[in-house]
């Protein structure tokens, strides 16, 4: 397992292992050049910087951690302080080509509503989330009978900001229920390496540490 200490030393206010670089390229690959992108939970702004520099996107961010907002704006990025649960309602319909939610879905209060808002204000949504169906999580719960603590799920149950963990199956179920079409998806390990079993949801749900999904309204 990579980077136990590194992960545990991070003290994200609200997100688990908020290291944008992990899935930055995976998400970036799903986004067409020159498009309008809103990154919800933009963290240090690495993704919007990446999209602007390499793809010429009009990329903007919303972030709840004020220190990250200040850092991003100081870096010349268009980021505003805001809360995904509250602030998405203020955007007009179809204002963006893509709305990105990177490893934040599991930490919002109303995930279904946030997804609904994302696909209202954007033509497409890119969602990445840590997979609670990963074998290590299952094994820990089975063997120890306690809430799993892994490099991905690295905070104990009473202090984790991740109030809505889900598995890849759970997420696909929600998409089907809400009528969203999955245009692309893949599972990856913590380092962002694509996994070979990405075409097999069952295996992905067992071996993928995180999933990246491109959605649109069906």
């Amino acid at each position: 397992m990579r980077g136990w200490d590194e992960m545990n030393n991070e003290a994200p206010v609200r997100f688990v292992a908020k290291n944008m670089r992990v899935d930055l390229h995976l998400i970036g690959d799903m986004i067409a050049p020159g498009t309008r992108v809103l990154d919800i939970g933009s963290g240090d702004g690495a993704l919007i910087e990446h999209l602007y520099r390499t793809k010429g996107c009009d990329a903007r961010g919303i972030e709840i951690d004020m220190a990250e907002v200040t850092r991003s704006v100081t870096h010349g990025l268009a980021v505003m302080h805001g809360d995904a649960d509250v602030d998405l309602a203020h955007y007009p319909d179809a204002a963006f080509d893509y709305v990105v939610l990177s490893r934040t879905l599991q930490a919002v209060e109303r995930p279904a509503e946030v997804l609904r808002q994302m696909l209202r204000i954007g033509a497409r949504a890119v969602v990445s989330f840590p997979n609670f169906g990963h074998w290590l999580v299952r094994w820990q719960l089975l063997r120890r009978g306690r809430m799993p603590v892994t490099p991905t799920w690295n905070r104990s149950w009473h202090e984790t900001p991740n109030i809505h963990p889900c598995t890849i199956h759970d997420f696909f179920d929600l998409c089907a229920q809400e009528g969203y079409a999955v245009e692309q998806w893949l599972a990856a390990d913590e380092a962002g390496r694509r996994a070979p079993w990405r075409r097999y949801p069952r295996l992905a749900n067992l071996f993928g540490e995180q999933a990246v999904v491109l959605l649109r309204r069906a």
Binding site: T70, V73, T74, G76, L77, A78, M80, H81
Partner: protein, 386 residues
Amino acid sequence: MDEIDTLAHIDHSHVTFPQGMVLDCGTALTAVDVAFRTYGTLNAARTNAVLVCHALTGDQYVAETHPVTGKPGWWDAVVGPGLPIDTDRYFVICANVLGGCMGSTGPRSPRPDVAPAVPWGTDFPPVTIRDMVRAQKMLIDHLGIARLFAVIGGSMGGMQVLQWAADFPDAVFAAIPVATAAYHSAQNIAFHEVGRQAIFADPDWLGGRYWETGKIPARGLAVARMCAHITYLSEQALTRKFGRRLQNAPKDPGEAISLFGDMFEVESYLRHQGSTFVHRFDANSYLTITRAMDFFDMTTDHGGDLAAAFKGTRTRFCLVSFTSDWLFPTSESRSIARALNRAAANVSFVEIPSDKGHDAFLLDEPDFHRMLAGFLRGCAEHAGLG
């Protein structure tokens, strides 16, 4: 304090617009003076101009010694070579607002329709923030600048920034409204009214015709300033700076304290603020400009929806508020940010931690200054400014 002469007459560099302008109130000013200062150099393409909008009691002397007070410019920590608004890169303009008293047309200016000429005084027509901005637009046109790279200002300056972005969206590449609001709140109007009543109550005010006696309503204006100054600070800042300390504490603990003889440091500070202010500011201007702020309400101006003011805007916005500012609290900036979201505008929004209250935007706030520099650098890249 009673025997203070009228404000020293100083020639402020200005431009006169003989065509005048029709104000929002319907009154036509036959000629308009706009006093202004510039710093840095306008590039050949005329694309690097930054307009700084000053607050209620500010003026155009942003980054140089003030000709009346001899004090440093009010934003000399922000505007200058190598500073966030870098005069090595940008051509910085600041104009005294319409209704002001540092050389732009205002209540101190002579009435054109009366001979021999007397000042307008309280007969000066009510001006609005929009009128101030239109006067600035005349100046910008006069300077041959089609589009400002940035418009920035705090407090009432922020109101002007919002008005600029709403009225002349194509002339504003980046807008930075700092510690401001889209309308003046009832509480803010209330504080202004206390200040105005203090001026009215001063017998030297003479119904606004104090020039006739050669005196100024110094006591009233000083009280107005003292009251306003409290609103610019925070409880924490007052406690940190003064606490309950006495300036002349009795040496012997047994010594009686007289009712008014011993002075708390905070009282002394406020009195100083009041008494120095009257040397540099005209009471009738204070009345005119506080009224302009009170009238400001961009939401109502746009049918109750602030987003309508910014529909289709391509301006890049950066809203800034400060945690301890209770005069223009973060919630006001947030509602502007949300209105801009509704207009699908490009908006950054930051709240800076500070215990300095509303005045924080004028003071040494390194996070704010770094952020401002970074935002402008980012915008310069998007604007194609090298």
